[in-house]
Symmetry: C2
Subunit: 218 residues, 2 copies
DNA sequence: TGTTTAATTTACCAATTCGCATAATACTAA
DNA sequence: TTAGTATTATGCGAATTGGTAAATTAAACA
């Protein structure tokens, strides 16, 4: 139990892996994203990853554990995307619009039909009966609310919005906007329409329209 | 093909039904509500309704048709609940709060753990791959937006909100509030907290807090 | 070269799933 | 009674599902 796995150093002993774990996890995520946890069989995932079931099992554990790892991967990606935008320290309206736009990037990513938010589209369904999934959902809800709250609080301190505005309330509406985008994207609403919707939400929350800014960092 | 089913008049011919179709449909709805379309087997539904699979099949068609009927039942209930509230013709703030409260009634109905919105929790998952489900989702999204838009437009005409406020934008935020409530309820957030959240949303949308009114008609 | 290690491949298992065919049942009509 | 009809009950069957055991393969090591 002292060192059953050496780091990435040197060559590993036995037969080399035929897959890259992170790539495989992303492919499994894609499979779950399309048809949900219950609607995706291990055969589907085996096909999506090019692995067979025993390898899948050895790498990630059973179906449930694999799903949780995929969900975790999704959270990490989302958090990173959010941080990238917050780091740019733009005014509130532009920051919100970038966040919504970036969310739409994710919701409209992938080859097939738009899939919306992975968590909203798949984890929420399982949340009723699955305490673990439910716990990660609430954690992420709180994180999103908290991020928006801090963002809006700072903007108010800079005088960007009315001094009597309530940051917590506006934060809730920002989160709600993300949620409605997530749901609508998975329901087949076109991206352009959702972009207009997001713009309207920003305008109400901030009291002015957002200016156009470069999506990528710079 | 002329009259293979007489109305409710007189006695029906063969062995009488052991179930009430609407009750059974509601029980099937409950089963799907908890575990989603893919996560609910026909055996689960047979247990929930007390019917056996052949009867289920004869009454509602296959699993997919049954699900669509359950979803439709849910829409009808929602529409009726909404109309009941709109018929009271209260001011905007109180109307919105009643709608959100009524939504929470639905999201926290049932015996087990809170299930949120049936459509959000189960139909959205299937929507990516299922055009029929997706179509009813978009229809209902548009209906909700439209209802809120008309409501807010009328309120503005009565002078309840600022004359320069944009009804369409506020309607989107109202819909978004419903969506965030639906998601959060299914993610395990307590009802009291969601009530406070709804209150904040109403306050931002209307510019004032809603007054307490009787939930039921009167 | 042979041994050890770690992965893959094949094949299997028990359980579940959806759907249906058939038989039994309960009622009306004549 | 008897026939006709609409339902329920039983049980089958082909396919799928999640999971695993056993055999095979590919590399490092000595």
């Amino acid at each position: 139990m002292v060192q059953n796995k050496r780091p990435t150093d040197g060559k590993r002993r036995g037969r080399p892996r035929a897959y890259d774990p992170e790539t495989a996890l992303r492919q499994a995520l894609d499979a779950f994203w399309k048809t949900g946890f219950s609607g995706t069989s291990l055969d589907d995932i085996a096909q999506a990853t090019g692995m067979n079931r025993p390898s899948l099992y050895a790498a990630f554990g059973d179906k449930h554990a694999l799903y949780l790892k995929a969900l975790d991967q999704y959270w990490r990606d989302s958090i990173e995307a959010m941080r990238d935008i917050l780091d740019r320290k733009l005014p509130l309206a532009e920051t919100l619009m970038l966040i919504f736009d970036r969310a739409l990037d994710i919701y409209f990513s992938g080859d097939g039909a738009p899939r919306g938010c992975f968590a909203v589209g798949t984890a929420v369904t399982e949340a009723v009966e699955d305490a673990e999934i439910r716990a990660t959902l609430t954690a992420s809800l709180n994180r999103l609310d908290g991020n928006f709250d801090a963002l809006i609080r700072a903007a108010r301190a800079r005088g960007e919005i009315a001094p009597d505005a309530d940051p917590a309330s506006l934060a809730i509406l920002a989160t709600a906007t993300v949620h409605t985008l997530a749901l609508r994207a998975r329901s087949g609403v076109a991206r352009a329409e959702l972009q207009r919707l997001a713009r309207r939400a920003v305008t109400v929350i901030c009291g002015r329209e957002p200016l156009d800014v470069q999506p990528s960092s710079g």
